[in-house]
Amino acid sequence: MTKPCIEVHNLSKTYRVPVREAGLKASLRSLTHRTYQEVEAVQQISFSVEPGEIVGFIGPNGAGKTTTLKMLAGLLHPTGGEATVAGFTPWERRHAYLRRISMVMGNKSQMLWDIPPLDSFQVLGDIYAVPPAEYRQTLDELIDLLGMRELLTKPVRNFSLGERMKCELVAGLIHRPQVLFLDEPTLGLDVSMQNRLRQFIREYNRRSSATILLTSHYMADVTALCPRVILIHEGKLLYDSDLQELARKLAPFKLVHASLLVNSTPPAFPGGLQPVEVSEEGRHTFRLPRDEAAAFTAQLLGSLPVVDLTVEDPPIEAVIDQIYQEGKV
């Protein structure tokens, strides 16, 4: 058995945040008497990730995703617990560790705006002491995968958000990190650019066997890339396993969509079931327990003029929203 690449044990982070009421009086008082509130951003999280795995790190805004990622990247010192990544304690920030990891944030840029990206990449190659031959090979590979050769010599300031994100990825991967932390890599991008980047991340993971921990608000990112998800909510780990399993567990029902030839009288449906939704074109949607879906569909097809029929799982967004609302799995 291989040793896990990321091992996290009871990791906690508590922030001390100064609090004061609104108003001039309160602000004067806060000069002498500061009151603090303890915010438990991350509470005793434990998990481990195998080398080469892609894990989706999901949770609502403020759940503690970025805080956890920042601790693993060495930017934040935890208030409790331990973590080992690629054999290092991240927050000691040893150069040998920093050379093995990369953190790409969708909302932060490390490109200089006024010079062509090629110059920025070269500097990063030097900072990470990448041998010249390896640098050229990695750069070529990344540029081909992202299809961005024409961007190399233009100043970054003229780029679209998607083009800039491509540059961020090249900048983050030029030293072939063993572990990659991706914080909202597709933030604000259009659908086809999101797809493009997803394909890239999948392909990169396949070729390089890098371990990838990814946060995203777009469930499509997670469903497309991560067989496994870790769900955190209010700093606590709620779920850590297979994504499809999560959907099955949370949503023990299926959606059956049937398009019927519209007639004036409402038809009698098998078992007296009523549709949860009927569209103007006569598309009826039924919601029913998973194990009854097959029998119901058979009866429906036998008794009514069905033009088109699909059976599907409820959308993953709905499942996740349910967890966020209820705060439990």
Binding site: Y15, R16, L76, D114, V123, I127
Partner: protein, 263 residues
Amino acid sequence: MNHRGGWALIKRSWLSWMQYRSFFFLLAFGWMVPPLVYLFVWHSAAGEASIGGMTAPQFTGYYLTLILVNQLTYSQTNWTLGDVIRSGELNAWLLRPLSPHYNVLSAELAGKVVYLAFILPITGLLALVLRPELNAGPREILLFLPALLLAWLLRFIWGYWLALLAFWATRADALLTLQDSLVFLLAGVVAPVPLLPAAMQTVAIYLPFRYMVGFPIEILTGQLTATHVAQGFAIQAAWLAAALLLARLVWAGGIKRYSAIGG
């Protein structure tokens, strides 16, 4: 130390800054205006006579040197450090296997090159028109160069530790304004230090600010005796050591705090 990376960063900063050279030329122009004003004030005040032993052409020599020294020692980089800390841009510095100080140092060195490209021809031209008197022999020049280097280091590192207070206070750059004012008063800008009132002169000699600008100029213009030069170097070195220590302490404490509360 990662010198290959550090050097690459310096080259890149220089490339990037050259894109904005007209902006920096304007800044450099702004910074040379006050010394230029005082040049003309003292030049006309001296007239055909002399003040405190300095004649009008000597004032011209003093202030033209000051324009150069002021430009070479001025640390613009420290002004943006607070923003880097507040905006979280520091994260990118901390994620790299390279000492974060290189980022500041590279901007500092890149800036010097860009500013000099403007200031050298301008002072050269002014020297042709204003005909300064500068009796600097090889001995003065030989002493001037190390004093200038130490002056830059002192001014830069002193400002660096002040700017690093941004880890705690949001507007630490107010302290940089204070530093600039004290340099203006006590480092030989408003008047050469030897011409200041006695009490102020004593203060100027023991505080660090004279050693950021005025001291090397006084060496070059031959205003100091050998004893005073030796004493000056001693005080300059002591303040530099203090500044280095403070910068180290403030950085260590600041990073500890930053890793505790996040950027």
